[in-house]
Every structure is written in structure tokens, then in C-alpha cells.
Symmetry: C2
């Protein structure tokens, strides 16, 4: 194979990159800063990464032949994940193939917390040398801080710093204290600058909050799509990548660290502060995300009995994982409960304050995995339901994330009406829209409780004409047209197909079965739970009545269902601002009883039972 270099140009962006012979196009796009939508992890199985190759007749791959129509192939459409560059090419990337930035949920519960961060600053002056003062530098330092802090620890890098300071005549210093440890020494009085960043590292979306550690106030927010989505859209495909590639772990680690650094820079820019004055970082995420962040092989999570390598909280020097913040900053990763119940769930439980109550709360966090937790002051139980990414729009024919152009709400009355995020034309449909559509189609009798979609020939009587016309048959399966081709953004109709309904059944069946299992273990019926807390990026967009209609949530009065927004991130912020919260998180991690659904004899039956939709 010749190792020549080819130019790849991207339209309409106008960007070009040079790549070696044989490089994958999806990689070339990444190098040009264009992130493509590859939910299947670039394995050629989802058919989502369509691009158009201009002015050149490339041989279609097997995956192309499977996923693309003859017309598309003739037009030069190919799957980017399968395309290996062997010549100079010009590529057009359709909107639908680009990774949309999700509409990130920024609102969430925030509790009034008296700020008491782990990291503090203390100003001191090391006495000018006088000939009768024979104390060593370290003793002078400890004595100067003694009033407040008894048994101080100081490590070698800090002793070195002290030596340099002493010998350059710098006697006015600010000590950065992490608990009883002297984590840093700065010249002069820098007590005014004391910042922290809390991260919520989702499989799909990463959010960071800048917090003023002096006041405990949140002063900024920034988010990014998790750049690991290149390697697959769920945790199992990320772990597969780690297992199959020698440097896979390093690759994924460095991607997420770069992403976190970008977020810190954006936060620092916006707040006009120096990233070197960020002294503490907390992070929550599912166990796979936090294992990868810390450079720990997560493979055991993907294989029975699905255990994590570590579960207690981890505290490391932020610099040691590559975070570009203060040299003395500590990264504190909240504890996880099990391989599939991570520190994000611990964050949700912490922020929900369910452990402070007598009444029983059920928290449901629907992300790529659905974590469910139930508890009160007495007891805590959690499980993870392998929902799959259907509610995030993946594996759904026209599914997309909750981004501009996504149908987020569907009402079926005289006709089918859709609300589109951003108010423009629809490009696809996101999770809340899918739930709405299913609820409406169930009510209209177009979908039966078994999940079967009725075809154009068998529709119930009395359906409005506009609705009746929307039901079509396509490639041998029934489907419903939500938005016509002439009204859509892409020029193609936005559809919900029979196969899409099956995907949703799998997802909601898993989550609902999880809810049943842990309620039973707790000794309650799901309808007896006092409050149901809906957390996660998904929560705030969904209609509670629709979620009950499709059976995702139990049939309780709607007023008992509360949205608590991005509670995982709220938990990370609490751990950042307050040491007690950190201890509380540690206790939640330790106390929470984990139920491994895969080990339960009757789980499959329960799962099958809840794949069925409730009767009207």
C-alpha cells in the first residue's frame, strides 16, 4: 500500500485536511473539527453517517449497499465510517449527519449550602531570617499556619517550592490547603481567587460549572458533546473499543480530558479568571466514564458480573490526569455504586436529598442508561436498566438528540401537530417527541397495546382524515408520517416506524421493569411512592401524562412527578462547595444497595410484561 497523502475537502464548511492513504473519512472529518453522528461507533451498522462524495465514483462498501438506496449510491452518498480515503476528494456533509449539540439542561435543583470547601487558602509571612531563629523553613511555615491548622502535611514538591521561595527572599506567601495538606504555595496574597469546577460527564454530553468557592455560588456553565461519541454511543461500545485497541484506553482518556480542559478554558474566559486559580475539580459520571477519565481499564464493567474496578470516591492530583488547572488542584470523583450505577446516580441521590426524608422518593435518571433509585432516611436501593439510547434518538429512524430541529412535542387531535426545538422546520425527533407521539398514537388506536402498528388498511373508524392519511406502509413496515417532506428541513418526511416503536418498547420496558423491581424490594407498589423525581437531560422536556400513558412511569397523580433537572451535576456542585456533602456522597455510595437485574430470575418475564403498553 502506498502511504501517500490526500486532500479531503468538506462542503459547505470549506475546510480541508490532509490524511494518509487508507484513513477513515470519519477521522478526517474529526481532524477538520466536524463531528459526525456515528451512534454505532463506526461499525457500519446504523447507517447514520451519510456523506456525499462529489465528482468521483467510489466503489460502495457492503454497509453502503445495506443502508443506502440505489438512488443514493448513484448520487455518490456513502457511509463516512466505511469510506477509506485513497485519492483527493470533496465531501458534502448533510445536516442530518452532523452531531448536533444537545440542548443542555442547565436548570436543576440547587440547595442553599453554607460554603465549606475542602480547599482553602491561608495567608502567611515567613519571618525574615534573624540570627537567633534556627527553625527550618517547614517549621516556620507550619508555625505560621498553626493557629488554624494543627497537624499539617507537606509533600516534596511543596518543600521544593518553599526552598525556592525562601532563597529568593519571598516571605509573603499564600498557602493552598486541602484539608490538612499544604497543596500549594503562591507568592503574595492570592486569597481573593478561589475557584472550583464541577463536571457531569455523560456518555453523550459533558457539562461543567464554574463555582466561586468563597461564596459557593455558581458563576458559569459550559458544555460539550462527549468527544468519545466517535467510538460508539453507549458505554459498552466504548468499552469494546478499549478492549480491541492496544491504546484504546489512552485514546478515550485523552479525548475526555481534552474536552474537560476546553470547558475549563471557556468557563475561565467567560468569567475572566485564570484557569490556574481553579483549585478543585469534582466529577460525576457513569462508572465507565469515570474509569476512563482516571485511566482505569473499565472492561470488567462490560462482562458478568459487571463490576467496577473501584467504587469509593477517588481523589487525585488534577494535573496527574492532565487537567490544566492549578498545580495544586485535586480532582475528586464521587463514589460509584456498581458497574452500571455510577457517581452520577450518587449525585442525583445527594441533590434530591431523599436520604434526609421520611417519605419515600423514586428517582429516575433517563440517559443512555436508565438509573433508578428508591429510598428515604432508612434505606436506599438502586439499579440500572439497559434502556439503550432510543430516548436519546439513536436507533430511531429519524431520531436525533434534543437539539434545534428536533420534534420535542407531538399532539394528535384533528391532525398531527409537532413542536420543533428552535421553532424552525423539523429535521428529526427526539425522546420527548417520541414519547408524545406514541402516547397519541396509542390513544388514537393506531398503535395497539402489544406495540403493533396498525396499517393503512386496518385503521379504527372515526379517525380524522389528516391523521388517517399519515399512516403509510414503507419498505414492508407500517409507519406514521409526522412531518411531510415538503414541510421538513431535509426534504424527506419525518416518520415513526413500527421498528421505532419496538425500540421504544425495549427501552421503556427495561426502565419500568427496573422501577418495579426496586419498589418491590423496598416493599412498596410503584403507585405508593410519595414522589417520583425525573432527572437528566431528558426529564424536563417530557410530558408527564405521556410518560404515564406509554407506561414508562407508574400511574400516579401527575402532581407527584417532579422534574429535578440535571441533578447529577447539582450533586457534583454540592460536593465541590461543601465538605459535608462529600462525606454524605461517600455514605450514599456505601449505603446504596445495588440490584443487578441480570441476576434476577424473574427479570426477563417482568421486562417482557412491561414492554406491553397499558390499555387506554
Amino acid at each position: 500500500m502506498t502511504r501517500d497523502t490526500y486532500r479531503v475537502s468538506f462542503q459547505p464548511d470549506g475546510r480541508s485536511v490532509f490524511v494518509l492513504h487508507g484513513s477513515k473519512l470519519v477521522e478526517a472529518a474529526g481532524r477538520a473539527g466536524i463531528i459526525l453522528n456515528t451512534p454505532c461507533g463506526g461499525e457500519g451498522s446504523c447507517g447514520k453517517c451519510k456523506v456525499e462524495v462529489l465528482d468521483c465514483a467510489l466503489e460502495p462498501s457492503q454497509a453502503d449497499l445495506r443502508h443506502l438506496s440505489e438512488e443514493e449510491i448513484a448520487r455518490g452518498v456513502r457511509l463516512a465510517c466505511q469510506l477509506e480515503v485513497d485519492r483527493d476528494i470533496v465531501i458534502t456533509i448533510p445536516e442530518s449527519t452532523r452531531m448536533f449539540e444537545q440542548v443542555v439542561l442547565t436548570e436543576s435543583i440547587d440547595h442553599a449550602i453554607t460554603p465549606d470547601p475542602q480547599v482553602r487558602k491561608a495567608y502567611l509571612e515567613i519571618a525574615e531570617t534573624d540570627s537567633t531563629d534556627l527553625r527550618s523553613g517547614v517549621d516556620r511555615l507550619k508555625d505560621a499556619l498553626h493557629a488554624e491548622h494543627n497537624e499539617l502535611e507537606i509533600d516534596l514538591p511543596r518543600i521544593r517550592q518553599l526552598g525556592t521561595a525562601m532563597n529568593s527572599g519571598a516571605c509573603k506567601l499564600t498557602a493552598v490547603l486541602n484539608g490538612a495538606k499544604i497543596a500549594g504555595l503562591e507568592t503574595g496574597d492570592t486569597r481573593g481567587s478561589l475557584w472550583g469546577v464541577a463536571f457531569d460527564i455523560g456518555t453523550t454530553t459533558v457539562v461543567g460549572y464554574l463555582v466561586d468557592l468563597k461564596s459557593g455560588h455558581r458563576v458559569g456553565l459550559a458544555s460539550r458533546t462527549n468527544p468519545q461519541v466517535h467510538f460508539g454511543d453507549d458505554v459498552v461500545s466504548r468499552i469494546n473499543y478499549v478492549e480491541k485497541h492496544e491504546h484504546g484506553l489512552e485514546e478515550l482518556s485523552s479525548r475526555i480530558v481534552t474536552c474537560l480542559n476546553d470547558i475549563v478554558l471557556e468557563l475561565a474566559d467567560a468569567a475572566q479568571i485564570d484557569p490556574a486559580h481553579v483549585y478543585e475539580v469534582t466529577a460525576v459520571g457513569n462508572s465507565t466514564m469515570t474509569h476512563i477519565l482516571l485511566g482505569i481499564d473499565p472492561s470488567s464493567i462490560a462482562h458478568a458480573p459487571y463490576v467496577s474496578v473501584f467504587s469509593q470516591s477517588a481523589e487525585v492530583e488534577a494535573r496527574s490526569v492532565g487537567l490544566e488547572v492549578s498545580e495544586s488542584a485535586i480532582l475528586h470523583v464521587l463514589p460509584n455504586v456498581a458497574g452500571f450505577v455510577g457517581s452520577d446516580t450518587v449525585g442525583v441521590i445527594l441533590a434530591s436529598q431523599m436520604t434526609h426524608r421520611d417519605e419515600v422518593c423514586l428517582a429516575v435518571d433517563i440517559g443512555t442508561n436508565g438509573e433508578v433509585a428508591i429510598g428515604n432516611r432508612e434505606r436506599l436501593i438502586a439499579c440500572s436498566a439497559a434502556a439503550g439510547p432510543a430516548f436519546e434518538g439513536a436507533r430511531i429512524r429519524h431520531g436525533m438528540r434534543a437539539a434545534e430541529g428536533a420534534i420535542s412535542k407531538v399532539m394528535i387531535d384533528e391532525a398531527i401537530e409537532c413542536n420543533v426545538i428552535g421553532g424552525g422546520r423539523a429535521a428529526g425527533i427526539c425522546g420527548s417527541g417520541i414519547i408524545d407521539a406514541l402516547a397519541g398514537l396509542l390513544n388514537a388506536g393506531i398503535i395497539e397495546p402489544t406495540g403493533r402498528m396498525v396499517g393503512p388498511g386496518g385503521l379504527p373508524a372515526g379517525l380524522p382524515d389528516a391523521v388517517r392519511r399519515a399512516v403509510v406502509s414503507l419498505d414492508g413496515q407500517n409507519a406514521v408520517v409526522l412531518v411531510d417532506s415538503h414541510a421538513s428541513k431535509t426534504g424527506e418526511p419525518v416518520l415513526l416506524t413500527q421498528r421505532d416503536v419496538r425500540e421504544v418498547q425495549l427501552a421503556k420496558g427495561a426502565i419500568r421493569a427496573g422501577i418495579e423491581v426496586i419498589c418491590t424490594e423496598f416493599g412498596l407498589k410503584p403507585t405508593e411512592v410519595t414522589r417520583i423525581l425525573l432527572a437528566g437531560g431528558f426529564g424536563n422536556f417530557v410530558r408527564r401524562s405521556s410518560a404515564k400513558r406509554i407506561g414508562l412511569l407508574p400511574d400516579v397523580p401527575t402532581s407527584r412527578i417532579e422534574f429535578i433537572g440535571n441533578a447529577a451535576a447539582a450533586g457534583a456542585r454540592m460536593a465541590l462547595a461543601c465538605r459535608n456533602c462529600r462525606g454524605e456522597a461517600e455514605e450514599i455510595g456505601r449505603r446504596t444497595e445495588y440490584m443487578e437485574l441480570a441476576n434476577m430470575a424473574d427479570f426477563q418475564a417482568l421486562f417482557a410484561e412491561h414492554m406491553v403498553f397499558p390499555e387506554g
Copy 2:
């Protein structure tokens, strides 16, 4: 200046190196592996680094003209420290210019210690994954070790290792435990290999001992000249180098670390073990040496009030300072007392066990600095006397270290008789020889109590002819020929000059004044001390009667003077093999009262008083 490269060839070694135009010859020699004797630190002030440049007439430097005779200059002799290479040259290095490896004192007090090292190993098997065992890897590890160890700590690199082990199916592991910390994880059962190394880092000589941590037995010894001697022969010139050169500290640190690694390799080779199975390293040294080893700026030690940056013991990952031992090894540096009373003195006190006794011991450690400590169970006092390197042969006309060819013993009777280390011809004289010679010359009346050397014209009556003939006048000063030119190794006579006597007076005056000061502070006359312990590389060679004769030691019965050999190293070994000893060392560091002689009003008077020799 042209930056051409020249070849420098060394005879009789036959080695060549290429160096850039302008490089110092002393550096070129270093690169060829030949260490030259440069006690003045290469400043051209001692005239010891004579080399002969063959077949080429180089312009002599100012220092050459000061230190070399006309005949030498004509012959091509130059000082290596002043010579800048500006052409291809061939160099002959006379024996006297080479750095001799000192005869290292290997014998020392060794106490029977029940081995109880800080570092231990524990074998464990992480249960094969079974589907009902949902514990995380860390919990499995902790549970497996739980029987012996309660609150275990594990850090990120070890969690990473554990993840890798779990996911590669390695379930038989050996944990390396440092106290309550899991310092390492090894595959399989490696409990059989548990080694440690104890270092004594002297200004001039570095000694390392290999210890079997299972039995506490010493199994090997290796030593090197401290490669920092290039930068000067006392701690102050090393500190000057650090202060004057931007990367001076890094340079000196890396030299000593390389030296320690060489010693580890030699020890490991000889014992047929893997250096990766060295799990613990302890070190003692004067404060400047340990500051430099740890990369801490020692400058404050050289300036009033002469304080060190740290004084408590330091414990760091051995790898973090560059030691090539086990990844999990800890380097433990014993505490120092003050800028000029280092962990070597703490080691001497520890090994002498003086703190276990009711009787009062006085320990004198004569190295480049003379440290003096007095104490018993109740109280400990120490001071440091700036003796200078005279007793190590530096600043003495024909002085040399206690190496082969050195006169180590001198008897003056009918003639002057000398014992030479190794039994061959004399090349110079070392410390114990100098003390003997002075004692003999004092007894013979050739040196007066004031230190004045009587000239050939004023010799006392009754001197044997052979002795009388040995007294000569040379370059305006009186001198005594110890070995004739025809009997010496160099072809030149080995002399002791008036100036040499003055150097010894300075050295012994300082040490003796220190002894007086701390005895007075302790409330005793020096003659009332029960035991005088003579430690250090120097101790074992000196004749006790001669040391008393010149007034270096107080006039006590000779039986009260004991040699305890390299007690500093013995202390480092004790700290390696036994945790209690380490705690004891910490307490010695804390308890020892330090007297700063420079601050004492009457020290100069006392010093002057003790420069005078006792009457016969």
C-alpha cells in the same frame, strides 16, 4: 568562536572523547569516565588537577603560572580545570591527579534488630468472578487483605494496575504494603523477594548497603566517590554552585541520583537480584546532601542563620527523584537537626544507642564537617564544627584521601617511618597519617605548641640524624620530608609543610572547640564524659594517642575512646529494617538541641585557644 569538535585522548587510559571548542578539560575527562581531583571546585585555586599535554605548546593560564614550576610549564603540565580545548590534544593524567576511591569504612556497629520493615508483602487471590459477587475490584482486594490490615489506602496508579490485572484474568497477586498503603501490585507470588537499600551520602563518599528486609541482614555493600566533588569539595562550594548556575540544583541532583542508581545496580548484580525488587530506600547525609538529593534548594544553609528548608524526615516515591528501583518503592530520608547537623548525625546517634543509656557519650564524626553530639537518656545536644577537609587530605600539600598509596601511620623514633595503605610506595598522606606525623613532630620538638615548625637551623638538641635531615626549608617555609623522592611513588618527596600544620590547626581547633562548647552546655568537663565514640570514614584509621596528643580529643584514658565506624550508615540500615528505629530517629531529630557555634560570643576565643597544641 567556531564551534568545532576536537578529539581529546587520555593516556595511559587510551580513551578518547570528542568535545566542542572551548570545553573545559576537566569536563572532557569526566565524559571519558576519568574523575580528576579538584578539591577547589575547578576554580584554579588549589593546583591539584595537574595534567600533561603532549606534543603541543599551550599558553599557560594565570593559575598555571601561580601553581606550576617553570620546569612543569615547559614540560607541558597544565591545570585541567583551567584548560579550554581549542584543538585535538593528547593528555597524560598523572596518578596524583586522579580521584582515588577512598578506602571505605565498611565495618560499623550493628545491633541485633528484629526485622520489622515499613514495607511488607501480602499474597492474595482475587476471587474468580462469580455472578453473585458484585464487589468492586478494590473491595475484593481490600477484603482479601483485611485479615491483616484494617484501613487500607490505595492510590490511582495502583487502581489502574488492579483494573489491568482484573481484565487480563490475573487473579493471583502480591500486594506490596507500605504501612497501610498499597504501594504496589505484582502478578503471582513474589513474597520471596523483598529488598532494601540504605545509603550514606557523604560530601565525598557515598556508600550503599543492600539489606534483605525479610531477615534484616546486610547482604552487600558498594561505594562511589560522590560525583558532585567536581563542583567543589565541601558543602559550601556545592551550594555556591547551585546559587550561581540556573540549573545548578538539577545538575547536582542528577549527579547524585545517577551515583545512587549505579550503586543499586552494583549491589543487585552482586546479589543476583532484580533492582525492581528493591522496595525501600533509606538515606542519611548532611543537610546539604539530602536537600540536593530531594531537589530542594539548599541555599539557606549557607547563609546566616544557616537553616535548612526541612528538618523532619521526608518520605517520597523513590521513582519521583529518579531512583531506578521498584515502582512502588519509598525513599525515606532521615530527619536532620539543622543546616549543619544532618541526618547522618541523627544516624550516628541512633546507631550509638546513646539515648538508651544513663552514662554520657560524646560522639565525634569527622568528615568534611565535624559533627559533635553529646547525650544520654535525658538530653541530647549537637553542633557542627567547620573543620574543613584537611583531615580528608585536602588543602594539604601532599594530602590525599585514605586510599592506596596514602601514608596512614607515621612513627618518629630514630628515623621517620611511614605505613602506606596497600603496602606500596607513598603517593601522599591521609588524615590519620597527618595526625600521627604531627603528634610525633610535637613530641620531637620540631613543631612547637603554637604550631610553629622549627627550621633546619633551630632544631632541638638530641634529635637523631635521620630525623634532623628530614627538616628542610622550601619556598620560604619550613617542612619535614616524610618520604624521600627516591622512595616515593611520584618521584617527588612527600612533605608536611608549615602551611599544612596551620590547616590542621584550623580543623582540629574547630572540632575541639565544638567538643568544649557542647560539654559545657551539658554541664560536664570533656574529661568527665564516660565514652567518646569516634565515627566516620576517618575514625578507624586514627591512633587514639595521637589524636589526644594534638588535642583533637580531650585527654581521657585511651580505653574510653571507641571506634564505632560508619555509624551514620548503620543508622540508615536500622531505619530500613525496623519501623521503631525510624520513629526513634524522628524523635532524635526533634529532641536534639542544636547549638549554632557562629552565634556564640566566646566561640572565636575558644577556637583560637584550641588551635594551639597541648604541651607535651
